[in-house]
Assembly symmetry: C2
Homo-oligomer: 397 residues x 2
C-alpha cells in the first residue's frame, strides 16, 4: 500500500545513475541530466558477453519480470518464462529488464526530482518517446559492457521498444522478438489513450500534475483510465467466458448503480489496485510515448527503410483475438522486413484472451519462442550453460 | 447552450402527461406516477389507424428524428429517411418518435420533478429497464388510439426496444426492424458502460447525483464518458480513414498533453458538445437499462421463446464493421426466430463506419429498409398516400 506522497525513490531499486554532465538528448529537443535507469538482472553475463537478453516491459509493467513484485507481492510478470531451466534459462542467458524512461519504478520520470530545482518534475519532465526509452536502455547496456544483445524481447509497448532497438541499433541486436505490437500506434489506440489521459486530468486531485507536492493522488481519474484500458486488453470472448452477464448476487438485478454485474466488480478491482502501484503522471507520459511511435514516419514514410541492411533475426508474434494490436499490424511489419530481405519468421497464435495473451502462459507461445531462441542460440554459438565464467552478479532468483 | 440549472421542463416539448393515479409498474418493483412521455409525430394517422410507424431512438438520441433539434440546431437524426416522399413517406405513414423513459428531453427521468417531494428526482428516480421504456411507449400508443403499429424500427438501444415490443406486445407490431442490436448486452458492452458511469460518478460535481439542485454539472466526467463511448461507435478503419495519425499542426509533434493529434481534438469536441445537450444522470439510467437487457433471461433462458407464435415480420440488420453489436448478435436473433418458424429476413450490410452506420445515409441500408417496408405495406394493404383522412395533426415538417 502506498502512502500519499510516495515517490519512486522510496523504494530501494537497483538503479544505474549516470553523471550529471552526461546529458541524454531527447527526441523533443531537450536533454535529460542525472538520468537514472532502474533494472534487474537474472543469470550471469558470460565471458564473451554475448548471452544477454533484454526484456522490454509494457505500458504498466516494470523491471520485476522474474521475481516477486516489491509493491504487490505478486510473481514477476514473466516469471514462468525466466529462471533456471526455464525457457529463458538463467543458467544460460543473462536476462536484463529495465524500468522504462518516464515510468515510476526507479527510472527517471515525472515523479523524479528535477536536479535543477530540487522539486518533483511533474509536467516539467520532458515529453518522451519510445526512441528516448531505448536510448536510455542503450546507455545501461553500454554501461554493462555489452556490445551486442543476444536478443531483445517484448510485447505491446515492449514490442515497440524491440522494433526501435532493431531500427536504431541494428548491430547491437542479434535477435528481436516483437510481440503483439505495431510499427505505429493506430488512431483508435490514440483515442483510447486520450480517454484515459482526460480521465486523469479531469480529476481535481491531479492538480495540473502537481499532486505529489500537494499530498494527494488523482485516484479516481487514474482508476477510470485503467478501467477503460483494461477493457481493451481483453477480448470480448474472454470477458464473456470469464464473467458473461453473471450478477454479483443471485439471479435478479439489484437495480442500482453500484457494481451489480461481476464484470463491473472486476473492473473496479483493476482500477483500484492499479492506483496503489502506478503513478498518474507516468501514465500520461508513457501513453503519449506510445501515441508518438511511428517507425515509418521516422524513416521517410517507408517502414522497410527502418530495417534496411539489418542482420537481426526477427520473430514476429501476434494473437488472433488481440483487437488492440491486431494481426494486420504484425503482417505489415513482416511485409516491410521481407521488402529488405530481412530474416523474419511470423506466427499468429490462436488465443481467445485478447491483447493480454502475451502475458499469459500459453503453450503454443512458449513453444514458438523457445524454438526461435534455441535456433538463434545455436547460430550464435551459445552452448547450454556456457555462462559459468561470467562476472556479472545474479539477482532476483 | 444550456444553463447550469436546466431541467427538461425548461423546453416546451410535446408531452403526454398521464394521470397522477395512473401509476405505471416498473420491472424493479416500484411504480411511476405522473408519467410524462415527450414525443413528435410526422404525417397523419389514417382512418384505419394502421399506418403508424414507431421509431425508437438510441442511447443519446431523442424524439427529434425528422426535424431540426431544438438545442443543437442540427437536422433530425434520421431526417434523410423520414418526410414527404422519403423512404418513411409521411404522406403515407404516421411516424411517431418518443423520448425514452429515463432520458432528458421531456419524458420522465432523473431530471424530472418527483411529484411526491416537489424536488428533482436525481438518483431517487427508480432504475428502469428497456421493458419499462417500451411500457411507457405502449401507454402513449394506446393514448393515441393505435391498436397495432404498422412497424417498429430502431438501432442500437432503439433496436432493443424493437425486440422488447415484439416480445411483449406481439399483436401490436405488424413489422419489426431491429438494427445493429442484440438480444442482450454483452460483458464487454457492460464494461464500457461502467467505465462511462464511473467517469461521471468520479466527478466531484456529480454530487451524488444532486448536481441540479446544487447548480453544477459534472461536465468533465460526462465528457470523458462520451469520449470513451464514442470510440466504440466507430470502427478502427473509420478512425484511421478520417484521422489516421494526422497532427493538429504541421508534421512534427508538439510534445505536450493538449490535443496534438486530430483524433484527440475530435474526441474533445464530441465530449464537450455532448455535455451541452445531455444529462449526466440520464446517461447513468439509460446505460444501466441497456446493461440489464436480456430477452432470453426474461423467457426462461430461451431466446426463441420470446418470439413463440409471433406473426410479426422481422427484418434484422447488422453492419460488417460494427464491433459493439457485431453480426453474430444479429445471427443469434435470426436463429431464435427461425426456431419458432418466425417470419424473418436478415441482412448484414457492408460498411466500414462501425456501429454508427445505422445513423448514416448508406444506400444499401436505405434500399433494404425500403424494400422491406414496401413489401409489408403491400401485405398490410396500405396503398401509397392513403392517410389523407387521418385525424392526427402533422408536426415538425
Amino acid at each position: 500500500m502506498l502512502t500519499e506522497n510516495r515517490t519512486s525513490s522510496d523504494f530501494r531499486h537497483q538503479v544505474k545513475i549516470f553523471a550529471d554532465d552526461d546529458v541524454m538528448p531527447l527526441d523533443c529537443g531537450a536533454g535529460l541530466a542525472a538520468l537514472g535507469v532502474a533494472y534487474r538482472t537474472y543469470g550471469h553475463l558470460n565471458a564473451a558477453r554475448n548471452n544477454a537478453i533484454l526484456v522490454c516491459h509494457a505500458l504498466t509493467g516494470d523491471q520485476y519480470v522474474a521475481e516477486t513484485h516489491p509493491l504487490t507481492g505478486k510473481p514477476g510478470w514473466w516469471e514462468s518464462l525466466i529462471g533456471p531451466g526455464r525457457m529463458l534459462d538463467t543458467n544460460r542467458y543473462f536476462v536484463i529488464c529495465s524500468n522504462v524512461l518516464g515510468s515510476c519504478m526507479g527510472t527517471s520520470g515525472p515523479g523524479s526530482l528535477n536536479p535543477q530545482t530540487g522539486q518533483v518534475y511533474g509536467l516539467d519532465f520532458p515529453v518522451i518517446t519510445i526512441g528516448d526509452m531505448v536510448r536510455a536502455q542503450k546507455k545501461l547496456i553500454d554501461a554493462l559492457g555489452i556490445a551486442q544483445l543476444f536478443a531483445v524481447i517484448g510485447g505491446s509497448m515492449g514490442g515497440m521498444q524491440v522494433l526501435e532497438w532493431a531500427a536504431s541499433y541494428p548491430d547491437s541486436v542479434f535477435a528481436a522478438v516483437p510481440i503483439a505490437t505495431a510499427s505505429r500506434h493506430s488512431a483508435q489506440n490514440i483515442a483510447f489513450h486520450e480517454v484515459g489521459r482526460q480521465a486523469i486530468m479531469a480529476d481535481p486531485d491531479w492538480r495540473g500534475g502537481k499532486y505529489q507536492e500537494q499530498g494527494v493522488i488523482p485516484r479516481r481519474g487514474l482508476a477510470v483510465a485503467r478501467m477503460a484500458a483494461h477493457v481493451t486488453y481483453m477480448s470480448e470472448g474472454a470477458l464473456h467466458e470469464k464473467f458473461g452477464r453473471a450478477l454479483q448476487q443471485g439471479d435478479r438485478p439489484s437495480y442500482h448503480f453500484a457494481a451489480d454485474f461481476q464484470v463491473e466488480s472486476y473492473l473496479h478491482h483493476q482500477g483500484s489496485s492499479f492506483v496503489e502501484r502506478f503513478d498518474a503522471n507516468s501514465y500520461l507520459y508513457l501513453t503519449r510515448a506510445m501515441d508518438y511511435f511511428d517507425l515509418a514516419a521516422a524513416h521517410g514514410g517507408n517502414l522497410a527503410a527502418a530495417f534496411s541492411g539489418s542482420k537481426t533475426r526477427f520473430c514476429v508474434v501476434s494473437f488472433t483475438s488481440d483487437w488492440l494490436f491486431p494481426t494486420p499490424e504484425s503482417r505489415a511489419l513482416v511485409k516491410a522486413l521481407n521488402a529488405v530481405a530481412g530474416n523474419v519468421s511470423f506466427v499468429e497464435i490462436d488465443s481467445d484472451r485478447g491483447h493480454d495473451s502475451f502475458l499469459l502462459d500459453l503453450p503454443e507461445f512458449d513453444k514458438i519462442l523457445q524454438g526461435f531462441i534455441e535456433g538463434c542460440a545455436s547460430i550464435r554459438g551459445l552452448a547450454p550453460g556456457d555462462n559459468s565464467q561470467g562476472g556479472m552478479p545474479r539477482h532476483g532468483e
